[in-house]
Every structure is written in C-alpha cells, then in structure tokens.
C-alpha cells in the first residue's frame, strides 16, 4: 500500500503549476495559491487512474487536507 508521503508526492507531480515541496499531508489543498475547480478534476482523475476509486464532487468537498483525501481513498477501497 502506498504511504501518505508517497501519495502526497505523487499527487504533487500532477500539478505542474504548483511548486515542488508545496504539498504536505496537512496542506489544506484549497488554500494553495491559484487553486481552482480544474485542480479538483485533476485530483479525481489521479485517484481514479491510480487507485480505481471514483470520488464524487460531494465526497471531495468533505475533505480538506491531503491526509483526508488519502484516508477517503483507502476507506473506499476497503
């Protein structure tokens, strides 16, 4: 199983416009400078492609940090 730290690094690679090292497990991702609904699409596509878990818009809205996202993905995978 992928660790939280690996998950965070992998997700960060998806955001080409976000500076390397910006994301941590505790980052409230919506507060990242320039965050938009396009980033949300990238998150959903990333999780679907890598973990075969499809998050709805409502589920995504219930998360704030990268750790919340990570936990949600693996809760749904169980």
């Amino acid at each position: 199983m992928i660790t939280l730290s690996e998950f965070t690094k992998k997700l960060e690679l998806e955001f080409e416009d976000i500076e390397s090292g910006t994301l941590t497990a505790n980052t409230d991702y919506r507060t990242i400078k320039g965050w938009s609904s396009m980033h949300a699409l990238i998150v959903i596509a990333f999780i679907d492609a890598n973990f075969d878990v499809l998050l709805s818009g409502t589920e995504l809205k219930q998360t704030n940090t990268i750790e919340d996202l990570y936990n949600l993905v693996f809760q749904k995978k169980l």
């Binding site: 699409l41 959903i44 499809l54 995504l60």
Partner: protein, 349 residues
C-alpha cells in the same frame, strides 16, 4: 436495455461547417496566466470557432448539407433529422425549415431531436432504425449546436469551453453493409449538471432571468445562461463511458483490437484521456479536434472525422467506435464499419 444492432446501413458522406471567426483561449481576459495554462492543459482547448450573432446552427448545418447535396443530389432524400439544442425557433421544428431551404422533396419525413453531446450517436441509431427495412433509402442527418449563444462571457466555467459547428451526414440503405451495434443509455438524475434553467416551459423568461448572479469568483451568469457542474460531469463520464463501451464490445462480440479509431465526444482532454486509459486504447487510435474547435456538443464526433480522418475514411475500410456523452445525462456508443466516405470541412462567413 438499449443494446441493439441494425443492418444494411452505410455512411456515404460527412461534412462539417464551422464559423470562420476564431477565439483563442489566450485572448479570454477572464483568465490570469496560471488559470489559462491550467485550462489549456486540462481541457486541451487552444481555440474555438464562434458564430456571429446572425448565424445559427441551422445555417451551419444548411451549408454542410448543401456541400453534400451538390455532390450527391437532393432528389431522393427520404429522411431528414436535425439533432440540436439550439434550434431556430421554439416552433416550428428546424428540420422542416431545412427541408424547404435545401429544396428536398415534400415526401421526406423530417423531425428534430433535442440532444446534445450524445446526439450524433443517437441520430445514427434513429436513421439506421428507419432505413434498415429498405423502405426508406436515403437520409440526411444534420447535427450540431450554436452553444456560444447560451454561454456568459463572465462565466469562465463555460464560456471558453464551447465552439459552434454544424454537420451533415448522408446515410444510405446498403444491403451489403455490415451491422452497426449500439449501446444507448440515459440518466435524468443528472439534469442539473448541465442546464439552462430559464427560457422554456418550466421557467419562462421573466425579470429574474436577466439578473447576473455571482456563483463564485470568476463565475457570473444569469438563469438563461448555460450552467455547468464540471465535477459532476467528470464523475459521470469516468463512471459510465468506459463501462458503456466495454459492455458494447462484450455484447457485439467485437474485440477492441479490431477497432481502427475511437471517436469520443470532445468534452475535455482530461476526461477523454481518462476514458482512453480505462479502455487501454493506444493514443494514436484516439483523434482529437478539441484543441482547435473546443467542445462542439453533438457536432464534435463528425467534426473530428472530417478534421482528422479525411484520407483514412476515403481510402480505407475502417472499423470505428463512436461514443457521445453529456447533457441529460445521455450517452451512447456505436460500433460501425466505413468504406470510401467523402468528408469535407468548410467555413461559414
């Protein structure tokens, strides 16, 4: 379950007409630089064609149809179907106006179909069903939208996405043609994900219809403008499209490897690439037109055929998978074979 096959039908010609005027994503002044880069990366859209105020989807489809009829004649068209969500009038149906404008015989049956992104595949299924008995021989399927009429410039979640296009497809009864296989689906629980709320029977236009609402920073629109929930649509597409296509392969007994090209509705590049990867299809088998024309609603599949596969369609026998999905939700796919198809891409002033 709307999975079925039709026989004895073949496509003879596909022509697309787009407006001449180009709008570039980089010229859209509601984006900052970061937003622009992310928009182009995610959607793939670099530019779109936008029809002027006095040009409608009917005009674009008319121009496309004229190219076909000049080549093949207009004497024996039995069926004319117009698939669009931007007809000329509340009534009468635009298909009937087009029958007269194109000087097609009065013995032709004509009607409109109100569908968006799935419209081309649905249109093909209706034409195929009407023609396969052999009583009716020739059909003109006119498909497209002037989506830019309903997007608000101040709404960056819709305005830079859509382009205008009209298409015409000539379809004939052909007793030697191989069967077409369809899988069509609907889910009205997604009606609010892409909607124009005011201007029809449920909410006729009134003074409230013109009020500009700020939904969030950068997204301002009225109730008579197109509203789009990108996350919900994305979720719908990831959940349903690949499943629909895989089920079609399973039921038809045709293998994915037999297909030369997969033509997806040009929704946005991230959606389409996600579907492609789910299907495990190689990149070169999935042509795109979205970079140059944006999301052209029901016209996007025939537009991509004309824009990217002109020579292949003319010179080779091809096996194609076409898949349209979106507003409704409505979605569907068809597996079909083509041979010696005439295509053209023309511009409208």
């Amino acid at each position: 379950m709307a999975q079925f096959s039709t026989s004895h039908i073949s496509i003879k010609a596909v022509v697309t007409c787009v407006p001449k005027a180009v709008e570039r994503s980089s010229d859209y002044n509601q984006f900052n630089e970061q937003e622009l880069n992310l928009f182009v990366k995610t959607t793939g859209i670099k530019e779109r064609r936008v029809a002027s105020k006095n040009v409608t989807c009917v005009d674009l489809c008319y121009t496309a149809a004229e190219v076909i009829l000049q080549k093949y004649g207009n004497e024996d068209i039995d069926v004319l179907i117009f698939v669009s969500q931007s007809p000329d009038y509340f009534l009468p149906a635009s298909s009937i106006i087009l029958q007269d404008k194109l000087k097609i015989n009065k013995s032709c049956l004509a009607f409109d179909v109100n569908l968006g992104c799935s419209g081309y595949v649905y249109g093909l299924s209706i034409v195929a069903s009407l023609l396969q008995s052999g009583h009716l021989k020739k059909a003109l399927l006119l498909v497209g939208d002037k989506s830019t009429i309903s997007t608000n410039y101040l709404d960056k979640s819709t305005y830079p996405l859509f382009g205008d296009a009209g298409t015409a497809t000539l379809i004939e009864y052909d007793k030697n043609a191989e069967p077409w296989h369809f899988n069509l689906q609907s889910d009205g629980s997604g009606k609010d994900s892409i909607i124009i709320e005011h201007g029809h029977s449920r909410h006729p236009c009134d003074e409230e219809s013109n009020i500009l609402h700020e939904i969030e920073p950068g997204i301002k629109r009225t109730k008579k403008d197109l509203a789009l929930n990108g996350l919900d649509i994305f979720n719908f597409a990831l959940k349903e499209v690949a499943q629909n296509i895989n089920s079609l392969f399973e039921k038809s007994g045709i293998s994915k490897d037999e297909v030369d090209f997969f033509l997806f509705h040009q929704a946005n590049k991230l959606i389409n690439e996600s579907v492609r990867k789910k299907l495990k299809v190689e990149e070169h088998k999935v042509p795109y037109s979205i970079e140059t024309f944006g999301n052209t609603s029901s016209a996007s599949i025939p537009l991509t055929l004309c824009f990217k596969l002109k020579d292949e369609l003319k010179n080779k026998k091809l096996s194609l998978l076409l898949s349209g999905f979106g507003v409704g939700y409505s979605w569907g796919s068809v597996l079909l074979k083509t041979q010696n198809i005439y295509t053209n891409l023309v511009e409208h002033d």
